[in-house]
Structures are given as structure tokens and as C-alpha cells.
Subunit: 404 residues, 2 copies
Amino acid sequence: MARKLKGNALIAQSGGPTMVINETLVGAVLEGKQHPEIKGFYGSLHGIQGILNEEFIDLKRETPKSLEAVGRTPSSALGTVRKKPTESDCKKIFGILLKYNVRYFFYIGGNDSAEATHIINEEAKTVGYEFRCFHIPKTIDNDLLENDHTPGYGSAAKFVACAVMGDNLDNRALPGVKIDIVMGRHAGFLTAASALARRYPDDGPHLIYLPERPFSVQQFISDIERVYKKLGRCVVAASEGLADADGAAIATKFINEKDAYGNIQLSGTGALGDLLAQQVKANTSITRVRADTFGYLQRSFPALISDVDAREARKVGTIAVQQAISGDVDGSIAIRRKPGKAYQIAYERVPLQSVAKATKAMPANFINKAGNDVTQAFIDYAAPIVGELPPIGRLKGVKVAKIR
Amino acid sequence: MARKLKGNALIAQSGGPTMVINETLVGAVLEGKQHPEIKGFYGSLHGIQGILNEEFIDLKRETPKSLEAVGRTPSSALGTVRKKPTESDCKKIFGILLKYNVRYFFYIGGNDSAEATHIINEEAKTVGYEFRCFHIPKTIDNDLLENDHTPGYGSAAKFVACAVMGDNLDNRALPGVKIDIVMGRHAGFLTAASALARRYPDDGPHLIYLPERPFSVQQFISDIERVYKKLGRCVVAASEGLADADGAAIATKFINEKDAYGNIQLSGTGALGDLLAQQVKANTSITRVRADTFGYLQRSFPALISDVDAREARKVGTIAVQQAISGDVDGSIAIRRKPGKAYQIAYERVPLQSVAKATKAMPANFINKAGNDVTQAFIDYAAPIVGELPPIGRLKGVKVAKIR
């Protein structure tokens, strides 16, 4: 049996918050408490910024009850940061880990965080420092390589599906064109989840536009006109990351042309939705056209968490610590789906680099030919991750004969 | 005992949908089925538009199971309309009610719907047609006279409180200024409900701006700077209906100045949030400033309904029919709160005109002196209507001593 490595553990959260990222934190801390070789279990405040500033809290001082409450709470309880560390940051970070006798390092985040974890780990190898270094996946974008899906996606997808479900009912009651802008700059998984909102054949979203396909305003307008002619209404789900055939973001393109806003970011603004609505008004005879941008609610809304997502998010934290304790290993914990009809997953340790480099987009078989909807293959993929959605009732609506 | 009036009943839904407006419909239909004097129970499709077009469905053909499912479903199941009928529309409507032997008329809506109901009722009186004519309250704006609160408000308020609760956590994890735009053109009740999101002393919303107080960009900027200096972050809830001291809508004002959008409506656009965010960026040194506009989700989101609101919405439908059956009466069903510590309400029949004329705004004792927050009196008022909110956990966060 291998000698157990003794020392402190440090965990941090990175990038955009999710609804279940604290489940991962809690899973890791509760598991860590089981292993005497982990002496202190520290949490860094605001990701690597907290490491650089040596701002740590003592997670062993948290009660199980408080940890469980934090687990159920959305958004990063340790705080997070949008900082991609430089090579020299990583060296500095490693120096601080040495100083605090950190032998176990866990970084919860997306591919940039995996890259940072990898660089820090290489630094440890170079100097021959015995070290267990793990990346733990999270991202609502669902774009990590090696993973069937990522913790955080299921809950965000549930929010989007519920939101579009309600919006479809609203649009059915008060007809018009409604455009909903969904997060996801390069990957369309979250926008695609809007398709789960459908219950009846005429339910929206009637059109879904993903960043994986070049966006043409002309097709968009003619798609809407076709649906509107048939149903007298149209609900559209569109990704914030829509780009034209040259890869130029639609939002930016319109803004540059109009010079209305000056510098503006894609998220945290209603610009794209408003501009698409303007295009529909300007190019069709449809008068009632509205747009909503779901914004940050998609990643931080409480009380609507996918049970499957919460369970898996907890588990990746637990398993990362178990793996780290098990011997001289490092890596990232990936979620794999087992073949077969029933939804079953397995957790697998994969090399840090394998999730650090690129990201993934929606596979071609998830997108319809016209590039304005998803396929049944996507629905089958996403439904078990999102879990049950609220039941929707509809009147039979037997017409009363008109009196002449 | 008075002779029971025999004939058909007609019910319709009007104005903006709510999450519980179908509870009212279902309450009325289930009660109506108990009374043999109501022969047919018809539903008009899309409010008075459906009456003018004689587009009715037979609600007695709906099964109890289907009705219960519809009750739990947000948005107007009969369809709705944003049409304020003219005097001549009302006369035409009355003619159609005569033709279909409608003796019981129920119109679920806000103050404009009460006004329409009143005019139709007067028409019946003029010609001596025996008629039971009822308005049933609904509005997420919570601005109906005579009512302590209105069905639909509690659920929309619950959504807003949850959304801001999540957004506060997001902003705490990734600090900056976040502005959330909430529905409510003239009444601030819904924006005010964001205050229910607070759990810890430093929780947002840190500032709340209501249409009841003139909005000053200068005060807004200095309020934000003060909060940001203290907490390093700031969450703002602002009403879509913010107006300056002259009553000019802020959204419109900026748009006119900038001429960026052309004609644009207040709801279904992210304009106000984006423009307020621009003001913060332009007038402070704060770099991370974001805005979200909650949009239509506030009135149609499924799976987050206030139990109290759903129960009361069902009950006003039931009581309207019971009242109509009871004798030669008409009116609107108002919700009154009984004095005392425990939350208790009573339903009271009030004259149609009494809810038809004006609307109400937030009373002065619900708004703080500075005009940038609500008072405890508002919290005490709103909390029982909204009901329980999701629990939020926070780490104790015992600091690890820095190593020198």
C-alpha cells in the first residue's frame, strides 16, 4: 500500500457561477473530512485571486448543517473570479501552495481553470514537489471536452426550459412574436434546452438558433413569417452568441452599424434581443414583437435545481477527493454516459490537458438540417439531465356553435 | 326565497396573463357546475374579442382532471386581449350576450376590465334585462382599488424575490453593479417585492427605485457609489416605469436623447436596464456593470407559484359564482385583510365602479424617506402573500492566518 501524502488541501471556485457549484464544494469538503492525511481544508476566496492574495478560509470550521445549506444554495459560496492566470501567476500560485503546505489542490471550473490547474501541476512536477492536483468540472455552457455533460448545465437547462414553457403559454394567450435570448457564447446546449419546453405539437419554441450555425437575418425573418402564418404567433429561442457566416457576432455587428451603445458586452444586456425584434418589425407586417434576455437568472436562480444535476455535482467533488487520496495521481473528473436506454453515468479520471485545451460545441446530429431547431437525439440526450418539468394543462376547448 | 335566474354563463380573461389566473377560471367553472340554474358555461376566447367574434368554448365539456391541470398552469388558458372596449363595443357585446342567453357574466381582469364589465352591466339595466355581472380581480401590478392585494401578485412577487435572491448571490461571488428591471409601469409593488430576497444584512437589493418617486439619475449614481464603496458591490432593483420629476419615463427620455432604438415599448425590451448601466459606467469608475430585465417570466413562469396566491385566486372565482347565484346582485370580489398579527383575509363584494376608475400606488409608509428602498411595513405586508422562499446558506468563513 502506498504511503499516504499528508498536508493541507485547498479548494477554489472559478468562472461563472452555477446553481450547483456549491454541491461540488460541499462534496469535496465532506469527503476531505473523512481522511486524516488531509490536515487543514482551506477554501480560497474568489478563485486564484484569493490564492495570490492568500485569502483563505478554514472549511473544517464549517458545521455539516451549514455545509448542507450551502450545497443547496446557488452561486459560488467561496466567491469566484474571471481571471486567466499567466504563466508567472501560476508560478507565484505554486509558491504560495508550497508556503501553506498544500498537498491537495482542487479547482472547480471550466476549461480555463483546467489549464491553470495543469500549469500549476507541471510546476510541482518540475521541482519534485509531491502534489495531488485536480480540476473538477462545472459550466452551464456544457462545453467541456471528455464529458458527456457538465455539472451546472442540467439546472440552467431546467431554468431555460421552464422559462420558455411559461413564455410559450404567454405567447399563446397574447399572440405575437417573442424572442428569448439564452446564454452560451460558443456552444448552443443551453439554448437548445428550450426545446424541452414543448408539450403539444403547436408549442414553442418554434424556432431555435444556435451559435454552431451561421445566422442569417434573412432566413430568420422568413422562418418567423412562415411560423406566424401557420400559427398566428411565434416563439424563438436564440443564443446570445449568434454569429454570421464570417464569425462576426450578430449583437456586435448591429451595434457597430447603429453605434447606439458604444462598447457593450454580450451578457448583462438586452441589446441582441431588442435588435432582432427591430429586424422583425422592420421587415414584416407583424406588429406585436417582444424580446426577453434571460440573463444571469439562468445560472443563479434558486429553487429550480435539477435533482440529477445536484447529485452529480456533489459526486464529482466527492470523487475528486477520493481519487486524490488514492495515490500519486492528478487529473480532472469527467462524467461519461453508459450506453443503453436507461440513463446511467460513470465518473472517470482524465488527464488535465484533455479538458484544458479546446471546448466542444453541439454535435451535428443534435441540430436539424435547416439550422433552426434541434433533433430528437438532442431531446433524448438532455431530458434525463434536466429531469422532470412542471406539468402543463390545456383546455379541450369544444367550440360552442355560433347562433345565426 | 328569490327566484333563481336561469340561463347560460360566460367567462373571459383579460389583460396581461398571471401565473394563477387559471385558478380563478377553474374556481368559477367548478362552482358553476354545482348550480343547475347555470345551463351552459361558456368561455370566451381572447377576452372581449372572443365575445365580439362569438368564439366560445363549452367549459362543461372539460373534465375535472383537465380543469385541475389547467388551474396549475400559468397564463390565460382562454387566451386574453389588450383591448379597452369602446362604449359601442360594449353595446355590441351586450347584444351578443342577449343572443346567447347569457345571464351570468364573469370578467377576470384589472381595472379596465372592471370598467368594461360596468358598462355592459349598465346596458343590461337600461333595457331591463335580468343579469348577474361580475368582475373578478387579477393583476401582477397589485394596483386595484378596494383590494388589499390582487390574485397574481403573490406569484409574480415570488418570482421577483427568487430572481433577486439568486442575483444577489451571483453578484456576491463576482462583484460589480447589477441592475434588475422589474415590471410595473405605475405601481411599484412588484419591484418592491425584491426586498423579500434579503437574508443577511449585506444582501441585495441594496437599492430599490419605484415609479411612485421621481427618479433622479444623479441620486441613483451617488446611491450606487455609496453602496459600492461600503460593500464592493451593489444590486439594484428598478421599476420599468421609472419617471423623472416631470413624469417623463426614464426609458423614453434616454431613448429620445440617444435616438438609438426608434419607437420602443417599456416591456419586452432591455433598453432601460442597458441605459441605466451606461449611466453608471459613464459617471463612475466602476467597470463591471450589468443589467437584466426580468421581462415576461415574471408573470408566466411555471413551477414557482405562491400557494397563498393560488388558493386566493381559486377562491375569488368560486365566490364570484356563489354571489351571482345568490340573488339580484353584481359587483367585483375584493380581497380584504383582517386586522391582527396572523395573516387572514375576507372576500367582499364591492361595486363595479369602485375598482374601475383609478388604480392605486404604493402607500407612502411602504417607501423609505430617501426614495431608494422599502420599509419594514411593506415587508410585513408582502411576506405572507408571497409565502416561503428557498433557504439560502452561507459559509461562516473563518479566516486562515496568513503566513509571513
